[in-house]
Symmetry: C2
Subunit: 275 residues, 2 copies
């Protein structure tokens, strides 16, 4: 049995981290959480504490933290203070392994971690891939997490919808791939729209902005509803911003589109090549 779904205020926070400046980056994320006392869920970008463009294992080692490290402590304190849930990205150290992870934090403390399943490009040099798609029961509904490139593998959102997820929080670091923006949107927004629409879930993407070591990040953080409609954002492509979507998560439980159509029951796995 899933917990009930309710109204939820879902905020996506777009930041401009400074590479390697963990203390100040973390302070910025804590300030952003503290600015959202009315939110039920605050989503922060991928690798929000560290920046993204690593050039050596030593650089990763210098900023990676365990799931009970100082970032977890800081976000847990802010989540308790504001009575919000927080999903945010950080480089995780676990013994010999390193992950591109997101912490899931409730007002009661750290609830768990999601480790990016579909790593992108140089991340494969620095990080081990995750292999779990956990769900988190919150007071407002069931929460799932993806990170950036995960959104390009639509099987993941299908997997989450089938597991009862109502809202997918997506810490991300979108890059211009491709450079062109059809209809004005970076491709991640299109992927969020398509995934939300075809699975009838909310998708809340918190992207970073700014340019780091020559790599430009796309901003355009956005909250998309189960129809596939952006209800908050996309935010501007540059600068630090935040926006909140008023999400009735009960809508994500309505998988019937008509009396004859159901986005999950209508799937035909015996026809698909899933291997």
């Amino acid at each position: 049995m899933s917990p009930p779904a309710t109204d939820a205020r879902v905020s996506v926070v777009q930041t401009v981290p400074e590479f390697g400046a963990v203390e100040s980056n973390r302070r910025a994320t804590v300030a952003a959480i503290e600015a959202h006392t009315d939110s039920d869920l605050v989503v922060l970008p991928e690798l929000a504490t560290s920046g993204y463009v690593f050039e050596s294992h030593e650089e990763v080692d210098a900023v990676a933290e365990p799931v009970d490290g100082p970032t977890a402590a800081a976000w847990a304190a802010a989540a308790a203070e504001t009575d919000t849930w927080v999903v945010g990205g950080f480089p995780e150290r676990d013994g010999d392994a390193t992950y591109n992870s997101s912490l899931i934090v409730s007002p009661g403390g750290v609830e768990g971690v999601y480790r990016k399943v579909q790593l992108w490009n140089d991340e494969k040099r620095w990080f081990d891939p995750g292999s779990q798609v956990p769900t988190f029961e919150t007071p407002f509904g069931v929460l799932g997490v993806q990170i950036c490139n995960d959104l390009w593998f639509p099987e993941l959102t299908v997997t989450q919808a089938r597991a009862g997820v109502d809202v997918v929080a997506v810490p991300t670091n979108w890059v211009p791939e491709p450079e062109t923006r059809p209809a004005g949107w970076t491709m991640g927004v299109h992927q969020a729209v398509a995934n939300a629409n075809s699975n009838r879930v909310f998708v809340a993407c918190a992207d970073r902005a700014g340019t780091e070591r020559g790599v430009r990040f796309e901003g355009q953080s956005v909250v998309v509803d189960p129809d596939g409609i952006p209800i908050a954002g996309p935010l501007p492509d540059a600068g630090s911003h935040a926006v909140t979507g008023e999400c009735d998560l009960r809508r994500a439980r309505e998988k019937a589109l008509t009396e004859r159509d159901h986005v999950l029951a209508d799937r035909r796995p015996s026809v698909y090549d899933a291997e």
Copy 2:
């Protein structure tokens, strides 16, 4: 071994069928094929010969045809005359079964049929679902077909990309679901963009336009490239139009995005819930 992929001119033809007027609807599709003597592939809408909004089995029976019926003959003649391939939708009768099908026709004749896998709403009253995802080897590359609602089940495009498909022809009858058009696009265009981009295939959608028995169709026919960028269209939402995309189908063979990223090899089926 797949056949080589080459440059291809892919045309999407947007028509406004009149319900039940098979002869004149068919004439319009033949005229459209004949107007595209420079095209390698002409895509026509879903149920282009019959119209869409059936209200009884008798109405379907009155317009359904076998795969070697008069529509097949007419399209085969036009395909031979213009030296093009044609993919177009028609209601198929096969013994006791009825399908929402697309014919695949080459200059040499009928190559096969695709029967819509993911039927929508009242179609489930009139049609049996298809259960095959065939591929067609053409002189310009490997062709696959989807029909309308199929695009909302992204596992199908993954299935086709894994089978070597370079271009997905999509006869469609998009309806305003949802009514809102994010960024100005009906949701089918967003789905085409997302599916093309995440599988690196061309997606060519030929939609109908017009209002039939109170149901408005969306137009916006479009050809999307493997980056997810519309290279022809979206066409206007009303009226009969056609547009041609210059498609280098070799691009659909390049599944590597970087030296470390490959849209097919990077999939993690053991992590997804595919059942």
